[in-house]
């Protein structure tokens, strides 16, 4: 018999007797009585060891009066929750994007920030998105040319990719097609693409979309883009000298806000912009006279676009200059007084109701209805947006009754930098959640609503802007979009929701009074546009690659024959555009370095590609040898060496060329742990590789995807390759030099 004390949690159980003839289990049962801890959950510490149920007391050396320690609780054992917790890291990318609450950024492909910000702004228009989704791939009608069709498709694809992805997207396809459609965006300067005007990009893109969407067949909306963005103006043109007067109606996609020294606020600028003077021949005077043109808005779009005319052509210095004056703008714009009398009448009633509603909201009785006020309305409006649109546009008079002429700001496109040819474009987009996101190419930054109005030009960026951007002192806004606060039609929405906000875009943009115009189109541009038209009918279809290439060559030859030579680059683009969808990744990769790919190379690559695609259709390895054979027959530059033995393993390799027109530069690859990476930070350091090596890329199974040379001085090229890897499981192997 021993007497010990047992310490259990904070208690000390004194004088517990141990019957040393019984196994310790009996002792544990004693403790169970005292503490309520079941014996199997008791842990009794005896000098650095646990007391086992069947131990022998005599060997343990427990002394009389010793202090033992017991651990154990009668608590419930922790159980894992029945429903496993889902972690954001495990979600597929699309769902992650959903939880993020905003879309992805877009990589800058070399001075393409104008395009990226334009896309981000347009992407925020849900109606446009839904219209694009309806646009079918095959549904090209005859009155839309091939390139417009391609551009629309590219836009659609890009939008859906933006919705799905979390990481930034490289709008390779879109960019290529855009340049194809509008060659002025492909202008190069010192080997890189030039900075372009976002406004031009905006209007051209909208124009194309309106063309193709109008014809896309949905009978209810003959021109959905116009319904969304078109502003109807009535203008009264009168001549002061003669007193002649005439009126004309027109439809524009944006209002201009002219900036002169007396304009401090958007509203003043708009008024200014609607008044203009022009000189034309007066029939009554028999000479040219000054006419004054005063316009008023006669039809409101869902989304109003306003352009700030910040760029103007400085004659003396022969360059575009930028007006840096600060012009304030509100988060909510009322354009009632810019409307024509007719329109005003239709706006009156809804506006009255809106005011009533607001008055009610401010009133002492917050009714239940008012609680579901704004937030919900905005959400609902998105849903309703698409369904109502058809009705509205088909029956403009009745629907415009629901408009109030009040617009909410939903997107801003800004340019920072002192001149038009330099600087940086950034888009600021309001999300469905009401939050603002600043899209600076591939980086989206959340921003505060208050800061949006601070973009009004002239000053330094707000404090919320990450440090990397503060150095740009001049922040100039180019585009503003407002969503219209629209009143629900009383007939349609009776008591339940007496007013309703519908997002409509309004606008603003700035203007560029300089017009790049056709004068800037080069000869090649002109010739290629003709060529484009001819090429419209060329598509690869199911003919063989060789036939397809021959067809293109014939056409270009015929052009040359009549003295209008076609640039190689245009031919390449045309060739690529005519390819089928299966060549998408191929097209992307060629576009990576369009300028250094010659037509001959492209042909070789295309043939290779076709062969490799056929291979995948279970054609044996011998085809590969044929391929190389075929290539060597193709006389011009690409003289491929015989495939190395290890071809089935090495998917990519570098070949040294002794003579190469423009030396491409590579990034020397250091230190990433696996030979492909999607994370730029894996490059511990990098510098452009100036050697003349080429790289071949395959899929690791013996298929051969083509040859890539990149002159990227930017790591983004590598990233794009990484993307390819994830999409197609391509395998890259980089050799610095094999001579």
């Amino acid at each position: 018999m021993l007497n010990v004390s047992v310490k259990w949690q904070k208690e000390l159980l004194k004088a517990v007797e141990i019957d040393t003839t019984q196994p310790p289990y009996v002792f544990k049962c004693q403790l169970y009585d005292l503490t309520g801890v079941p014996p199997e959950r008791q842990k009794i510490m005896v000098k650095g060891g646990l007391l086992k149920d069947d131990a022998d007391w005599s060997t343990l050396g427990v002394k009389d009066g010793q202090k033992l320690m017991m651990m154990g609780t009668a608590d419930e054992v922790v159980k894992a929750p029945e429903k496993a917790i889902v972690f954001a890291e495990d979600l597929p990318e699309e769902e992650q994007a959903l939880h993020l609450g905003y879309g992805a950024g877009l990589f800058n492909l070399g001075n393409t920030c104008y395009m990226n910000s334009t896309i981000q702004c347009l992407h925020s228009v849900p109606e446009l998105k839904s219209a694009l989704i309806k646009y079918s791939h095959s549904g090209r009608s005859n009155d839309v040319d091939q390139t417009s069709h391609m551009l629309t498709i590219a836009t659609r694809d890009l939008f859906s990719e933006l919705d799905k992805s979390v990481k930034a997207v490289a709008p390779m396809q879109f960019w290529m097609v855009l340049r194809k459609k509008y060659p002025q965006f492909g202008q190069q300067h010192n080997g890189t693409f030039m900075q372009q005007d976002a406004e031009e990009c905006w209007s051209q893109l909208l124009y194309t979309l309106s063309q193709s969407l109008r014809s896309s067949g949905s009978s209810e909306s003959p021109d959905s883009v116009k319904a969304l963005f078109g502003i109807e103006l009535v203008s009264r043109v009168h001549c002061i000298e003669s007193g002649e007067e005439s009126s004309e109606a027109e439809s524009v996609y944006s209002l201009k806000c002219h900036i002169s020294h007396e304009v401090n606020h958007l509203h003043e600028g708009l008024k200014h912009g609607l008044k203009s003077e022009l000189e034309k021949n007066s029939p009554s005077l028999g000479r040219s006279a000054i006419y004054v043109k005063e316009s008023l808005i006669n039809g409101l779009p869902r989304y109003l676009t306003i352009q700030f005319v910040r760029f103007f052509w400085k004659r003396e210095s022969n360059q575009k200059a930028k007006i840096l004056r600060k012009v304030d703008y509100p988060l909510q714009l009322d354009i009632f007084d810019l409307c024509s009398d007719d329109l005003r009448k239709t706006l009156e009633a809804p506006r009255q109701r809106l005011r009533d509603e607001e008055g009610k909201k401010l009133g002492l009785k917050p009714s239940e209805k008012s609680s579901d006020s704004k937030d919900k309305d905005i959400k609902m409006s998105d849903v309703e947006g698409s369904s109502n649109r058809s009705g509205e546009s088909s029956n403009p008079t009745s629907d415009e009754g629901a408009m109030t002429g009040i617009y909410d700001l939903v997107a801003v496109l800004t340019h920072k930098g002192r001149s038009a040819d330099s600087g940086h474009y950034v888009a600021w987009v309001k999300q469905e959640s009401g939050k603002w996101i600043q899209y600076d190419d591939d980086n989206p930054y959340p921003q505060k609503e208050e800061d949006i109005t601070k973009l009004s030009g002239g000053g330094v960026g707000g404090s919320a802007i990450p440090p990397s951007q503060v150095e740009h002192a001049w922040r100039q806004m180019l585009l503003l979009f407002f969503s219209l606060a629209q009143l629900g039609h009383p007939g349609l929405e009776p008591e339940t929701s007496p007013h309703k906000t519908k997002p409509l875009y309004v606008p603003t943009v700035t203007g560029s009074s300089f017009n790049r115009g056709n004068s800037s189109l080069s000869n090649s541009g002109a010739s290629s546009s003709t060529f484009d038209n001819d090429n419209d009918c060329i598509q690869k279809g199911c003919q063989s690659m060789a036939d397809y290439l021959q067809q293109i060559k014939d056409i270009s030859d015929s052009f040359t024959a009549v003295g209008a030579s076609v640039l190689d680059r245009d031919l390449i683009t045309a060739t690529l555009v005519g390819l089928l969808d299966g060549f998408k990744s191929f097209i992307d990769s060629i576009m990576l370095h369009l300028s250094s790919t010659s037509l001959g190379e492209l042909r070789g690559l295309l043939l290779t590609k076709e062969l490799s695609m056929n291979r995948r259709k279970k054609i044996t390895l011998s085809a590969t040898t044929e391929l190389f054979h075929a290539l060597s027959v193709q006389a011009s530059p690409p003289l491929l060496p015989a495939p190395p033995q290890a071809f089935s393993k090495l998917a990519a390799m570098c070949v040294h060329y002794t003579s190469k027109p423009s030396p491409p530069s590579w990034l020397i690859y250091y230190g990433a742990t696996s030979h492909i990476t999607n994370d730029i930070s894996n490059f511990s350091s990098s510098s452009p590789y100036t050697g003349e090596d080429k790289m071949y890329i395959g899929d690791g199974k013996g298929s051969f995807y083509g040859e890539y040379v990149f002159a990227g001085t930017s790591l983004r090229w590598i990233l794009s390759f990484a993307k390819l890897y994830f999409k197609w499981y391509l395998f890259f192997n980089f050799f610095i030099s094999i001579c």
Binding site: K7, Q9, V77, V78, P81, I85, E89, S681
Partner: protein, 894 residues
């Protein structure tokens, strides 16, 4: 030139001019002297003539005249040497005659008079003797041997200097030194009596006979003497430093200043001395205070009946050493400061202060963010016993399902979550074990691993008779599942750090030599052994680790985790300097991949906390090389610079500057280590300049540099609640909100800054920055070495390595207790510590102080002193637990 011009700068001016020629003695141009005569005042002229007369008379043949002249001359000199701001006039006027007198001296016959003249020549040589001639000393030795102090302070000082030179010379010539030592005796006695202890100590150090000091110290001067001794020890090369400290220890013991003696014994890691202190002190209360000091230092120490006779007393004292009351004291502090309320990670992130970044994705749990929250929660609520994630009673209705934070973590994240319970219940073994217990019955191996680790954390720096940690963990270290093994092994390492427990060694060493054990298990075993035997130089453990290193394959040694194995070897020799050499020699035979890494790690660990400048230079040399590739040893070298130079303030400043250079010129792998080194140098000490450097680095383009800088910001402000760092981190959290890895680091750093709601410190130095707790340092450097490869370890699945920081966690408090060890609130002044080394009298020790009542928090560089006479503290250093005794002489003044 008017000779009587009162403005003429006679005294000091001409004296200065003469001084220029002092060193070029003797062949004085007579002309110049004549000219000068004209500047003299009447009085001076008279003195001059008088002296010249004496000089003449000294050369008289009549001994009586001679004697008179010498007496008078001596008189003149003595009365004037009291101040030495300028050359005394008699000396000045006698200078032209120094040569004459010297010459005459040589001709004199041996007599008392000759000795007299020698004395005077000795004094004259003070200003006349050529550099290196040591004539002052020469004539002193020839002289009459009179009272050395009678010629004034400066003379003694000069003599001391010459003795030092002469000593060195004689030693090299092996000439006799007895007569010198006699003189030394006199000088030391003089210095010690005249508030010039540092000079006495300096002289004795020069002549290598510090023992002499003991005879001369008394109650009035021993404190200053010892202070000077201990402070100078840091700058002495071994083995002189040990010698000096031994003397200081002896002096303290002589005057029964046991707490100070104890500190020196701890500094020297001399267990015998500690025992002596316990046996020589017979006051139980003071022994209790010793126990508190031992407990803070974190070494294990067993009292025996020789040291404390009574069983009950011994148990009470052992309890204090075992830190069983630490939790209680800490909670007392927390209650007094009113920070008991548990904090959530959101309270720390303060997301609402950020612009437009109100957390968007609350809808889905992110495992990474939850893991960060787990750590932040553990750090912030460390030791408080309550939090809002882990210890909330699971709601009966919800069945403990969705409400349970544990399961909001993924896989190995659950390990960290379960272990965080140990952190929250830190030091409170009784209720801690009870709360962790339920996780032992889980079916999830990760959870069990976490529970085991949690047990280890709860027991960190606490010892218990029943050894619950060993009992519970011991049976899990051989389980199949590697996670469980790691949890148990790491738990043992944390719980028994510094304990040198044989049982643990016998359990763990077999794992090291098990060729089949996975690399991570082996690594954690090695680290745990390194911690348990930290600074012990234990041969057997070292052997076992070396074999483990040799057994591992090439590819395994290439793993980032394998780099911690050399560290574990280094921990064994932490601060033990030369003792490492044998092992370092062995390490040269290691696999090439790890050889240099091992070499650097061993070197830096062995000299950690010594301030050895030569070793720092050695390491800097390694850092200046530009490597081909794949060499990792520069990271440990950079950390080593910090580890070595963190010993004293000057070294820290110098190291910070050197690191700045490395940052600019170093390779990428060096740049990654620099922030960590800065963090170590200023741990829990938010210096503004370092803060700025780290803030800059936290935006570095190299994400690993940025991550290291972010973590270091956390270390820098650890436990300080520093608002500036907190603000920086908040901004970083919004800057990096898209980068999950960096955001994780920012969160961890935020947790560290608010460690224990600002009541804790990670600084391994304590007791007025004199003592270095080896376990604390070991914990920090383990973490830092892991941070050298952040991506593979901390951001991988070994994030629980962060819990090693618990070894360094200590309350940064002053808690005064009465004779019954109950908290006692008294007013104290807390202010910036002032360096009083070498200052005479009783200088103020703190500046810019505020008066608080205990318990009170002490920031880095703060020192406290009692603001009342009513009590006498039993420890001269007011940190941690301090026992107060009533002052019997205290009178309440009305």
């Amino acid at each position: 030139m008017a000779p009587q011009d009162p403005n003429a700068p006679s005294g000091s001016g001409s004296g200065k001019r003469n001084e220029d020629t002092v060193k070029v003695p003797a062949k004085d141009p007579k002309k110049k002297d004549d000219k000068k005569d004209e500047d003299l005042s009447e009085e001076d002229l008279e003195l001059k003539n008088q002296l010249e007369l004496y000089v003449e008379r000294v050369q008289d043949t009549d001994p009586g005249v001679q004697k008179n002249a010498l007496e008078s001359m001596r008189q003149e000199i003595r009365t004037s040497t009291s101040s030495m701001t300028s050359v005394p006039k008699p000396l000045k006027y006698l200078r032209p005659h120094y040569g004459t007198l010297k010459a005459y001296y040589e001709t004199m016959a041996e007599s008392e008079l000759k000795n007299y003249l020698a004395d005077i020549l000795s004094v004259l040589a003070l200003t006349m003797s050529a550099e290196g001639e040591r004539e002052s000393l020469k004539y002193r030795l020839l002289g009459s041997d009179g009272d050395i102090g009678s010629w004034g302070h400066e003379y003694v000082r000069n003599l001391a200097g010459e003795i030092a030179q002469e000593f060195a010379k004689r030693q090299s010539e092996e000439a006799p030194i007895e007569e010198l030592m006699e003189l030394v005796q006199q000088i030391v006695a003089f210095h010690m009596k005249h508030n010039a202890e540092p000079e006495a100590v300096d002289l004795l150090m020069e002549v290598e006979d510090l023992d002499l000091l003991i005879e001369h110290v008394d109650k009035t001067n021993f404190k200053r003497t010892c202070l000077y001794l201990t402070s100078s020890a840091r700058y002495l090369p071994g083995p002189d430093d040990v010698l000096v400290l031994d003397i200081a220890y002896t002096i303290y013991m002589k005057f029964k200043e046991y707490p100070n003696a104890l500190q020196i014994a701890l500094y020297l890691d001399n267990m015998q001395n500690i025992k002596n202190i316990f046996t020589s002190c017979d006051d139980l209360l003071r022994k209790k205070q010793f126990c508190y000091i031992l407990a803070r230092h974190g070494i294990s120490f067993e009292l025996d009946d020789e040291m404390v006779a009574e069983d009950d007393d011994r148990e009470a004292l052992q309890d204090i050493i075992n830190n069983t009351k630490l939790s209680e004291g800490y909670l007392t502090l927390a209650r007094d400061i009113e920070v008991m309320e548990a904090k959530t990670p959101e309270d720390i992130y303060k997301a609402h202060l950020l612009d437009g970044r109100a957390s968007a994705g609350a809808s889905v749990d992110s495992a990474r963010q939850n893991l960060a929250a787990t750590f932040v929660n553990a750090f912030v609520n460390a030791g408080f016993g309550q939090d809002k994630l882990m210890t909330v009673p699971s709601d009966a209705s919800s069945g403990g399902s969705s409400g349970n934070w544990l399961f909001k973590n993924k896989e190995h994240g659950k390990t960290s979550a379960a272990a965080s319970l140990g952190m929250i219940l830190l030091w409170d073994v009784d209720s801690g074990l009870a709360q962790i217990d339920k996780y032992f019955h889980s079916k999830d191996t990760h959870v069990i691993a976490g529970a085991l680790l949690g047990v280890g954390i709860v027991n960190c720096s606490i010892k218990n008779d029943c050894d619950p940690a060993l009992a519970l963990l011991g049976e899990h270290i051989d389980k199949e599942d590697p996670f469980i093994r790691i949890g148990a092994i790491m738990g043992l390492g944390i719980a028994y750090a510094g304990a040198q427990n044989e049982q643990i060694r016998s359990k763990l060493t077999p794992i090291l030599n098990d060729a089949k054990a996975p690399l991570d298990v082996v690594t954690f075993t090695a680290i745990s052994l390194g911690l348990v035997y930290v600074g012990s130089c234990n041969e057997e453990v070292a052997q076992a680790i070396i074999f483990a290193l040799m057994d591992r394959s090439d590819s395994e040694l290439g793993e980032p985790l394998a780099r911690l194995i050399p560290l574990s070897l280094g921990l064994l020799y932490l601060g033990k300097q030369e003792s490492v050499e044998a092992t370092a020699e062995v390490s040269k035979t290691f696999n090439e991949k790890i050889r240099k890494h091992c070499d650097m790690t061993l070197l830096s660990c062995a000299y950690a906390g010594t301030g050895n400048v030569l070793k720092v230079q050695n390491l800097l040399g390694h850092c200046s090389q530009h490597l081909e590739k794949n060499e990792t040893h520069q990271g440990p070298a950079v950390l080593g610079i910090a580890m070595i130079s963190m010993a004293e303030e000057l070294g820290v400043e110098m190291a910070i500057r050197s690191l700045e250079h490395l940052l600019q010129y170093g390779e990428q792998n060096i740049r990654r280590a620099v922030p960590l080194a800065l963090g170590l140098l200023c741990i829990s000490n938010p210096k503004v300049n370092v803060m700025d450097t780290l803030s800059r680095l936290s935006h570095d383009t190299d994400s690993e540099v940025a991550m290291a800088a972010v973590i270091s910001l956390g270390l820098l402000g650890a436990g300080t609640n520093n608002a500036r760092i907190a603000g920086m981190l908040r901004n970083l959290s919004s800057y990096y909100y898209k980068d999950a890895s960096l955001l994780f680091c920012v969160r961890i750093a935020q947790g560290l800054v608010h460690l224990g709601k600002g009541l804790l410190t990670l600084n391994p130095y304590h007791s007025d920055r004199f003592l270095l707790s080896p376990t604390a340092l070991a914990g920090i450097i383990t973490l830092l070495h892991a941070c050298l490869d952040m991506k593979a370890i901390i951001l991988g699945k070994y994030h629980y390595i962060l819990y090693f920081i618990v070894l360094a966690m200590q309350p940064r408090m002053l808690l005064t207790v009465d004779e019954n060890l109950r908290p006692l609130s008294v007013p104290v002044r807390v202010g910036q510590a002032v360096d009083v080394v070498g200052q005479a009298g009783r200088p103020k020790t703190i500046t810019g102080f505020q008066t608080h009542s205990t318990p009170v928090l002490l920031a880095a560089g703060d020192r406290a002193e009692l603001a009342t006479e009513k009590y006498i503290p039993l420890s001269p250093i007011l940190e941690g637990f301090v026992i107060l005794k009533e002052n019997p002489d205290y009178r309440e003044d009305n």
